[in-house]
């Protein structure tokens, strides 16, 4: 029974409370064991271990001790003030800082050991019921020991003490930043074999952009994410970026629709975007990507949903002014606090950093809808590989938090219509992909809009013309004539020409009808006349026949009568 309990992950691990790290290690640090934290200067070792202690004390009710060998506790606390950790009230009972920096003028002759420190810690740990402990920059102390065997001996002494006390500990050591994988060759490399968990922090500069990575190198008795995960040190401390691991629960999906802000577009999409979907709007510069996303933001605010609008291109106030010119008035929602505009030009650093900032702002604003304009700006800095991960994490995060995400992506005019050149690979991640383009024809540029994909919805296959006016955004059917697509004034011309043609045809039709009516009437009259004539003829014919018969009779009768009258001949006797 007891063994079962011990083997359950929750009990065997001490959660660090650090975003992403606990996920990568399946629950946190090995409980009651030692974790080695390696990294170059400024890689975040102290911040990580400090946050581990603070979270332990605050969230998990496990008091902790921080033993500082390099910086004074005063300075560490000063630095910690820059994070939103509010150490003040925690410090007294649950968090103890011990200064263990060697004095520079300290005289040392011969060998020594750490028993003095451990004896003191023993007492303090018992008094405050400490469960967690951090030895920050242990190498400083070890460097004072006269030889390697003495160092080895003291490390073993420390390790044994930690294990016996059942403390979940972090020991940080410096490592050469440029070769984190060759740590085993370094003076304290053997520590990696001794400890149960080893984590490497790496801080490098890729194409002029700072890039931090964390990698769990070993973790005895547990599976872990073996890849390097980017992380950032933001206002809340560490934030390790990991993509959702396999087997995690999927985010809840919904059939709820939210309007795109443009009526006809909603119709084209069969009712609007899905709630918590990721919508991508691509297009060349000036194809009204911002306008389309602004329409969405306005509609969201009208529903009373808190919305965050992140603009990488221009200031928030500029966006508002520009959108007001097409009848999208966002200013009132800024005033009521529903809408928050963030100009991300002020966010510098890697894509990872930008994402963390956006996440933090969205969380602070309790946003339900998010617009990022353009998301392609994320991939402008830093390595392509990192940017790809950011795109994935952005979508992943917005879905997990049930945010409806609309992001625009700028296409390079030279690179053509394909979006796949964008390192973010948003087009494959997005649920709905709307493409805006220009059609240049007869000396004018007109905006065309089409839905390239929309997962889970029947959507129109038609290209529509996007018309911006100061009364708003509308979509018009484009005119196709003889396989040719007509837009703008040509569409209008064609339409009016068609209208005139229609009228002419209609009039002509009517005229023809009248003519035919007349002809019919004429024929009918003629028919009547002929019929009457026919009747007359028939009558005449009958009359003729009768008169002929009677005349014959008269003639026959007449000759007999005449002979009789002449009486000369005896016809009967002839």
């Amino acid at each position: 029974m007891k063994l079962d309990h011990l083997s359950s992950p929750a009990l065997r691990k001490a959660p660090s409370g650090i975003t992403g790290f606990d996920e990568a290690t399946g629950g946190g640090l090995p409980r009651g064991r030692t974790t080695l934290l390696l990294g170059g200067p400024g890689s975040g070792k102290t911040v990580f271990s400090l946050q581990y202690l603070i979270n332990g004390a605050r969230i998990y009710g496990e008091p902790g001790i921080f033993v500082a060998f390099e910086e004074t506790s005063e300075r560490i606390l000063d630095n910690a003030e820059s994070f939103d950790w509010q150490l003040g009230q925690l410090q007294r009972k649950k968090l103890l800082f011990i200064d263990a920096q060697p004095n520079y003028d300290l005289v040392q002759t011969g060998d020594f050991d750490l028993c003095g420190m451990l004896a003191g810690l023993e007492l303090q740990a018992t008094q405050m019921k400490a469960r967690r402990i951090v030895f920050d920059a242990l190498d400083i102390l070890l460097a004072m020991l006269p030889d390697l065997s003495a160092r080895r001996r003291e490390i073993y002494r420390l390790h044994e003490w930690l294990v016996n006390r059942g403390l979940t500990s972090i020991v940080t050591l410096k490592a050469k930043a440029d070769e984190p994988n060759s740590i085993t060759q370094q003076p304290y490399g053997f520590m990696q074999f001794m400890v149960d968990c080893s984590v490497i922090l790496n801080h490098s500069v890729v194409a002029g952009v700072s890039q931090r990575n964390m990698r769990v190198q070993k973790y005895r008795g547990s599976s872990f994410d073996e890849n390097e995960s980017p992380f950032v040190i933001g206002d809340g401390g560490f934030d390790v970026a990991i993509v959702r691991t396999l087997g995690r629960d999927d985010a809840k999906v919904t059939n709820e629709r939210v309007t795109s802000g443009i009526k006809r577009l909603d119709t084209m999409l069969g009712g609007g975007y899905y709630r918590a979907a990721c919508v991508l709007i691509t297009g060349f510069p000036g194809t009204a990507k911002t306008t389309l996303s602004g329409a969405f933001a306005e509609a969201a605010c009208r529903r009373g949903e808190r919305t965050l609008f992140v603009s990488f291109d221009s200031d928030g106030t500029e966006v508002i002014r520009n959108l007001a010119s097409v009848g999208i008035r966002l200013n009132r929602y800024i005033k009521t606090g529903l809408l928050r505009m963030v100009s991300a030009r002020t966010i510098v650093g890697s894509a990872e950093m930008s994402l963390v900032r956006i996440k933090a702002i969205a969380a602070a604003h309790r946003a339900r809808c998010l617009v990022i304009d353009p998301v392609s700006a994320l991939s402008n800095t830093g390595s392509e590989l990192a940017a790809h991960g950011v795109g994935q994490r952005l979508v992943d995060w917005s879905k997990a938090d049930r945010l409806t995400l609309v992001c625009t992506s700028l296409l390079n005019e030279i690179s053509g219509q394909s979006e796949s050149d964008s390192t973010l690979h948003m087009s494959t991640l997005a649920d709905t992909w709307i493409h805006l383009s220009y059609v240049v024809q007869a000396g004018e540029r007109n905006r065309g809009m089409s839905i390239i994909k929309s997962r889970g919805t029947a959507h129109s296959n038609q290209v529509r013309e996007l018309i911006l006016s100061n009364s708003g955004v509308t979509l018009a059917d484009i005119f196709t004539a003889g396989g040719e697509v007509l837009m703008g004034t040509m569409r209008w011309q064609k339409e009016s020409a068609e209208r005139v043609e229609d009228e002419v045809a209609e009039v002509a039709g009517k005229l023809k009808l009248v003519t035919l009516d007349a002809q019919q009437a004429e024929l009918e009259v003629r028919l009547k006349a002929v019929q009457t004539e026919l009747l007359a003829k028939q009558l005449e014919k009958t009359l003729l026949a009768r008169t002929t018969a009677s005349r014959k009779a008269v003639i026959l009768h007449g000759s007999v009568r005449m002979r009789e009258l002449r009486g000369g001949d005896a016809p009967k006797h002839k």
């Binding site: 300290l106 002759t109 060998d111 020594f112 050991d113 028993c115 420190m117 007492l123």
Partner: protein, 96 residues
């Protein structure tokens, strides 16, 4: 040294570990040779009295404190290098 004041030492040890035992022996021998009759040695075991070790900020054992004469001096280690120890404690002049 010209001043013939009494030297007061406090030696923090860790039980009877080798380093601590060595330091105790070295200190006693040194005092016997160079400070006969004018030294006091107090030995504190950090395991038996950790509170004092904490208050005194003792991290490494053995640690020797010279409490008098002032200023206080602090030497860490087994005190093997007698010359260095005496130099630190002010028992020889720096000119050799």
């Amino acid at each position: 040294m010209t001043r013939r004041s009494t030297y007061r030492f406090r030696l923090y040890v860790a039980d009877d570990t080798m380093n601590s035992a060595l330091a105790t022996t070295n200190l006693q021998a040194l005092c016997k040779t160079h400070l006969p009759g004018r030294h006091e040695i107090e030995i504190v075991d950090v395991f038996k009295d950790p509170q004092r070790a904490i208050l005194e900020g003792i991290r490494m054992t053995p640690t020797l404190l010279r409490l008098a004469p002032l200023p206080m001096r602090r030497i860490v280690g087994t005190l093997v290098d007698t010359h260095r120890v005496m130099e630190t404690l002010g028992l020889v002049s720096n000119v050799t």
